[in-house]
């Protein structure tokens, strides 16, 4: 009983993270019902992954920029511009894909460096610089394309957008075995990592999540991954872009948590002055963040172009909004200092499922935009509401709000927020 209450108390203190998870599940269930099961059909799940991959790639860079307290409005235009550059390089100049892809990423880095210079070293707010960038690179896209689309692209590049890993069974099996191996292996790796982390936290006397929550959370993640694996495997296997995305998520999560660069990013967003006075080269970090954003935007542009098999003048329009929304829905703080790559991915998936589900239902872009806008507003609104509740005096006060606390004279048995291995109260 007390374990249950402890878990409840914990859940309220993590309302945000729990909420986003529950929201994703509810949205999936809702559209699964509304679309008569089309949403989770193998082919549609594959589509969902491929369709959202470039938004998710952008969201990785975006959440990092947001954690540092900045914003980037130009990523859609940069993605479009790189698509155009790729078109010129590959179709017009006849460059090989293995030369064009690194060249495009380099151009992305230069674009990022251009913006990073103005933001970090000149000190113009990122909002302004990237708003200008949004116009500049859209303009350059149109100039590069001479207002006409470039098509078609060779198959090697198109594989980046719509290709799949080879079927090792040679098409004889119902399930694509490479996908099953990757999916099961990945799930096992995630569970192993979670258990390891929990052990380490116990070893160092840090608070752990209640066992029940830990088990439910990881069990759920595992089941979810296995379901997706099964669905992908029963269609055409693993999209190549999913592998790219998975590698990016792993690398960037590690980077943000464990590298000096990542730590400095959080420090800058949390308190710029304190970061400066701690010897962190804040300008350099900011500059690099935007270079990184440029590279990721270039990659997103390549994936998008590959998927459409054409570089288009309007390519990438609105991507910035979807990726910013993904980061904020995924728990990034508007003031900076808070956010995770994983959260941004979940936020991106929520946006993606909404897009996909509403498209299947035949809702026009008018209603799609309306609903997506409201979801963003609600998600951040909920965040702020939650923060105001909890900010009042340490810990969550949601419990009090919902009268979960015992009313009889509060004794020492007052519900603890979480198990505290060290019996010292913070004053």
């Amino acid at each position: 009983m007390s374990a249950l209450r402890e878990s409840l108390g914990f859940l309220t203190s993590r309302l945000r993270q729990v909420g986003i998870f529950v929201a994703l599940i509810l949205i999936v269930i809702l559209f699964q019902v509304l679309t008569d099961g089309i949403l989770l059909e193998p082919q549609n799940v594959t589509n969902l992954v491929v369709q959202n991959s470039y938004i998710l790639i952008l969201a990785i860079g975006m959440v990092m920029v947001i954690i540092a307290g900045h914003i980037d409005l130009s990523v859609g235009s940069i993605a479009g511009f790189i698509g155009a550059v790729a078109g010129v390089m590959i179709v017009h100049w006849g460059w090989a894909w293995w030369l064009a892809i690194p060249a495009c990423l380099l151009v992305g880095a230069l674009v990022g460096a251009w913006q990073g210079y103005w933001i970090a070293y000149v000190g113009i707010p990122a909002f302004i610089v990237t708003l200008a960038g949004m116009l500049i690179f859209r303009g350059l896209t149109l100039i590069t394309l001479k207002n006409q689309q470039i098509t078609p692209f060779p198959n090697e590049l198109r594989a980046l957008g719509g290709g799949f890993l080879p079927d090792i069974s040679g098409g004889t099996s119902v399930l694509e075995w490479l996908t099953v191996i990757l999916g099961v292996g990945g799930t096992a790796a995630i569970l192993f990592q979670a258990l390891k982390e929990r052990r380490v936290r116990r070893k160092f006397n840090l608070e752990n999540e209640p066992m029940a929550w830990f088990a439910v959370k990881n069990g759920f993640i595992a089941v979810l991954m296995l379901i997706i694996t099964f669905l992908l495997a029963s269609y055409r296997g693993t999209p190549i872009v999913l592998i790219v995305l998975a590698v990016l998520v792993i690398v960037y999560s590690a980077l943000m948590n464990n590298s000096i660069f990542g730590r400095h990013t959080y420090a800058i967003g949390g308190n710029l002055h304190a970061a400066e006075l701690s010897g962190i080269k804040t300008k350099k970090v900011t500059f690099r963040l935007f270079v990184n954003m440029g590279v990721l935007a270039a990659l997103a542009g390549l994936v998008f172009t590959a998927r459409l098999n054409s570089a288009q003048p309007a390519g990438g329009t609105g991507f910035e909004l979807d990726s910013i929304a993904a980061a904020f829905i995924g728990g990034a703080a508007v003031q900076g200092g808070i956010g995770t790559v994983a959260g941004a991915m979940i936020g991106g998936l929520i946006m993606g499922v909404l897009n996909n589900g509403m498209s299947i239902l035949g809702l026009g872009t008018d209603y799609q935009q309306l609903i997506k806008g409201l979801v963003l507003l609600l998600a951040v609104g909920f965040d702020i509401f939650n923060k105001n509740r909890t900010g009042a005096g340490g810990g969550s006060s949601m419990g009090r709000r919902f009268k979960w606390k015992t009313t009889p004279p509060a004794t020492e048995a007052a519900p603890a927020v979480k198990a505290e291995p060290v019996g010292v109260d913070a004053k």
């Binding site: 840090l206 420090a267 006075l277 080269k281 200092g337 969550s396 009090r400 007052a414």
Partner: protein, 509 residues
Amino acid sequence: MNVPILQMRGITKTFPGVKALQDVTLDVNRGEVHAICGENGAGKSTLMKVLSGVYAHNTFDGDILFENEPCEFSSITDSEKRGIVIIHQELALSPYLSIAENIYLGNELANKGWVDWRKTNLEAAKLLARVGLSENPVTPIQHISVGKQQLVEIAKALSKEVKLLILDEPTAALNDEDSDHLLDLILHLKGQGVTSIIISHKLNEIRKVADAVTIIRDGKSIETLRLDQGQITQERIIRGMVGRDLESLYPDRTPNIGEEVLRIEDWTVQHPQDHARTVVNNASLNVRKGEVVGLAGLMGAGRTELAMSVFGRTYGRAVSGKVYKYGQEINTSTVSDAIEHGIAYATEDRKHYGLNLIEDIKRNISMAALNKLAKRGWVDGNKETTVANQYRKSMNIKAPSVAAITGKLSGGNQQKVVLSKWMFSDPDVLILDEPTRGIDVGAKFEIYTIIAELAAAGKAVIVISSELPELLGICDRIYTLSAGHITGEVPIAEATQETLMHFMTQEKE
């Protein structure tokens, strides 16, 4: 004579897992100045938030009687209607608005929705006269000093026809002169029938103005001392606050002073905006191994500016002068250069410049020296936790674990995190700017002990402080600054508050 104006009975306020207040009683008589004392985190501010309606009446247990009527406030507006006004430690003024606009902010003198500027400025001028502030009401707030801004806050309170004025650490950011003025004003208002509750750490101020002192410790009201019963003495208050007698406010230490570590020569710094102003003028000083050197000066003397300009040019422009370490000239023109040369600067404003308040203890401690925990750019998280746990133990940081968010710690514990951060960067010279500001008596002693240990470990320590007794208690040598000049260098044996004050107020041509 002793008519109660406020009675708080059995106030209990719980946050999940923490009992902030437990059965607290507070009786304030009409027309008195009532001080509330207690260590940081004891529950003083929580109590005042309960009283002023920041915490709505249904979120705590207990009764509040104001002028013999029960109060059920849901917000600050409710309490202000009854004449209870709270002035927070961090002033709530808008820097770009004028004094008069700030006074009537949210309470505008308007006619059918249109502000009556003439009346606003006239009434504001009257209020300014009442608080003894001779400024034009149309002056923007940002152009007047913090001390004067505090007076504007009080004028604002008066405009709301205040009966009970609550001041949370009103003199924390003020220099001595402004503090004196403020305390006089509180006494003056008392003469006009305004009752005040004042939260303060400064015991000499409490002795100056308070008619009664209520001591709060660990969320409980310990006792109320009354002046007319001769109970208000420093020893008595300290005993009540820490629950024991403090035989000594400062730790004993035998200095073991070695060679010179850091020497600053002919240091001159210009004001970052006002180019005509020289904030630090031709200052030279040195500090030796194992030595604690004090920097004394009044507000605006240039102490912090001197320290920050040395520490990576983080203040000022056109900085000139030389810094030597062990006799070699060194370059400290960026913070990372300064840190690499073994200099650490712990800021006076830990919330804005010292800590990442939304991050946990371990990541704050590692912030200035992450590379010590990293290999090829990757941080070893386990090592980080181990290091943080060591500091939590050695510095006695009170927190559930090193994964606790620093923003939720008390001031003393936050300061220990800041000190841990700099100790981990393994400096040879530590510059500590107001290391005990906003910290309670018990934690102060701990900080002094840490400083003594640092010196004993062979570090060179420079302490900047506005509290002369503190400098006299912990330093081996004290420099005085006045208007950017070093006006004196006094060995501790010859230093008294009077001699220091003499140098601190000395004008150099």
